[in-house]
């Protein structure tokens, strides 16, 4: 048994035991405490189900706010124990037990018949995309074990990441519209759960296969993951260097490699760079002054994962020999962690705005309703003349009482018609 199964059995057993103790406790306070234990167990199960945000909400709202409210009301009413009057409905317990057993049996039957669990959970399925970087191959279809994953891909085109079931696949590239049996087998790839992999077809004449791993987890702001791949067959090795703002190398300038020099078909380690524009250029690894491609338009988008692929493009009309270096840029936004606050917030504020607002209004109404319901009805203002409350004597009359002369004398009275005259000596 894996550790996850053991954890599930233990936590599940504790949650059922806590629910049973809640039902059987005579004291309502004990019941509430057992229910809190049950809620904690359910929060742990949420964590195991990749719902980290809900686990914390469960603890904060359910085990925290709601259960504190319960305990408060139990203790406020002094309702820990009920006096045991005779049951008025003697037929209730056997009928309830029969109904509950029927529900249990029906539910179990539905589970057994329904075959809930025949599929692999989608969240764990590996993701795959295909990049066409083979200059001599026209629009192509790419197949995984006869399943089409890239339909009519032109040179330099990229498919989006798609989820496929994990397993081992034969990759076949064929001319667009051709039978996959007539295609060129590129090789075999193995996809494990949770992986994101990129398949690149590159090279002259007969394409070769390169498989790169991607990392789609969220990055800190203003950073970008970059992987460089050399699919250019015109030179033995290329280097990606940082040139400085003018995209030229001076005589005295030291060559700064962004990544280690790459041989044909070699990929760099995945590295993290600051987002924004970069002054990078691909050069011959043996001769840094031989520029292949200046990446003037390159701007790294923040919080993405970028593949920079240097490929060679056949120049039209200049014979078959010349390969012009071009950049194939394959960017992919990062995917927020499943069940984390970012993913739940994203879907909540994009797809579920209206229900979110309705629930907010419902909470407001509930708040007002609770206040109205608990208000004592017999508290009414007494009929009769409304009494005015004297706050304090005005400062001028205090001064007048102490000095014997009215400081306000001779000045116009500012008091309104309804206010009482200040009394100098008090009552």
């Amino acid at each position: 048994m894996s550790i996850e199964v053991i954890l599930f059995v233990v936590v599940g057993a504790v949650s059922i035991a806590a629910a049973a103790m809640m039902l059987l406790s005579e004291n309502a306070v004990h019941s509430a405490l057992f229910l809190i234990l049950n809620f904690f167990c359910v929060a742990l199960l949420y964590l195991m189900l990749e719902a980290s945000f809900l686990a914390l909400v469960q603890i904060a709202v359910y085990a925290g706010a709601i259960m504190v409210l319960f305990l408060f009301v139990i203790m406020l009413l002094g309702a820990e124990k009920l006096a045991k009057p005779d049951r008025e409905f003697k037929w209730m317990p056997p009928l309830a037990l029969a109904l509950v057993l029927a529900l249990l049996i029906a539910g179990s039957l539905a589970l057994i018949q329904g075959e809930v669990d025949t599929r692999e959970p989608v969240a764990d399925q590996p993701m795959l995309r295909v990049i066409h970087a083979a200059p001599d191959f026209g629009p192509a279809d790419v197949y995984l074990n006869n399943d089409l994953v890239g339909d009519g891909l032109g040179f330099r085109s990229i498919t989006d990441y798609e989820r496929v079931e994990s397993g081992s696949y034969n990759v076949v590239i064929a001319d667009a519209g051709d039978d996959p049996a007539a295609g060129i087998p590129l090789g075999t790839i193995t996809l494990e759960p949770g992986e994101a992999r990129t398949v690149i077809a590159y090279g002259e004449l007969i394409p070769s296969l390169a498989v790169l791993d991607d990392d789609l987890s969220t990055l800190p702001a203003r950073e970008t993951r970059v992987t460089v791949f050399n699919a250019y067959t015109g030179l033995p090795a290329v280097a990606l260097i940082n040139t400085g703002s003018n995209f030229e190398l001076d005589e005295s300038q030291e060559v700064v490699n962004v990544v280690e020099p790459l041989a044909q078909g070699e990929a760099s380690e995945m590295d993290i760079f600051g987002a924004g524009s970069q002054t990078w250029a691909f050069v011959n690894a043996d001769n840094p002054n031989q520029f292949l491609l200046r990446l003037r338009d390159l701007s790294l988008e923040r919080n993405t994962s970028q593949f920079l692929i240097l490929a060679g493009e056949r120049e039209v009309g200049s014979g078959d020999e010349a390969l012009r270096p071009v950049l194939v840029e394959a960017g992919s936004g990062t995917v927020p962690q499943f069940g984390g606050p970012a993913s739940i917030g994203g879907i909540l504020f994009v797809e579920y705005v209206l229900p979110f607002q309705l629930v907010a209004i419902l909470l407001l109404v509930a708040m007002v309703g609770a206040i109205v319901l608990t208000q004592r009805i017999d508290v009414k203002p007494k009929p009769g003349r409304p009494t005015r409350r004297k706050v304090s004597r005005p400062l001028t009359s205090v001064v007048a009482a102490q000095t014997g002369s009215d400081v306000m004398e001779g000045q116009p009275r500012l008091s309104g018609p309804d206010s009482e005259q200040p009394e100098a000596n008090g009552d």
Partner: protein
């Protein structure tokens, strides 16, 4: 990995226990707590299916259920307090006579 069916069975058992609490206990507050237990069991099933299908919709629904449960508890406990004031009891058998 624990199969989704195991979570659904656990959820079913918890739901049934909540139902028994609602039907058999006489203390109104305990009936209320049993309703919370049933809501939690349903939430557990929703989260398990959300993982199974790889979409966040189930988890968003659980979020809404938790919010509605909070509203329901606020109203329900206020009702219990109001009933306790007039009847001096929260035994639900004593409440079926609606007079007064």
């Amino acid at each position: 990995m624990v199969p989704t069916e195991a979570y659904i069975i656990l959820s079913l058992v918890l739901f049934v226990m909540g139902t028994m609490g609602v039907l058999l206990r006489r203390n109104a507050i305990l009936v209320f707590m049993s309703v919370e237990l049933m809501l939690n069991a349903a939430n557990l099933a929703l989260v398990a299916f959300a993982r199974q299908w790889g979409t966040m919709d189930g988890q968003v629904f659980v979020f809404f259920v938790i919010t509605v449960a909070a509203a329901e508890v606020a109203i329900g406990l206020a009702l219990i307090v109001a009933i306790f004031r007039s009847k001096q009891s929260i035994n639900i058998d004593a409440l079926h006579q609606m007079e007064g």
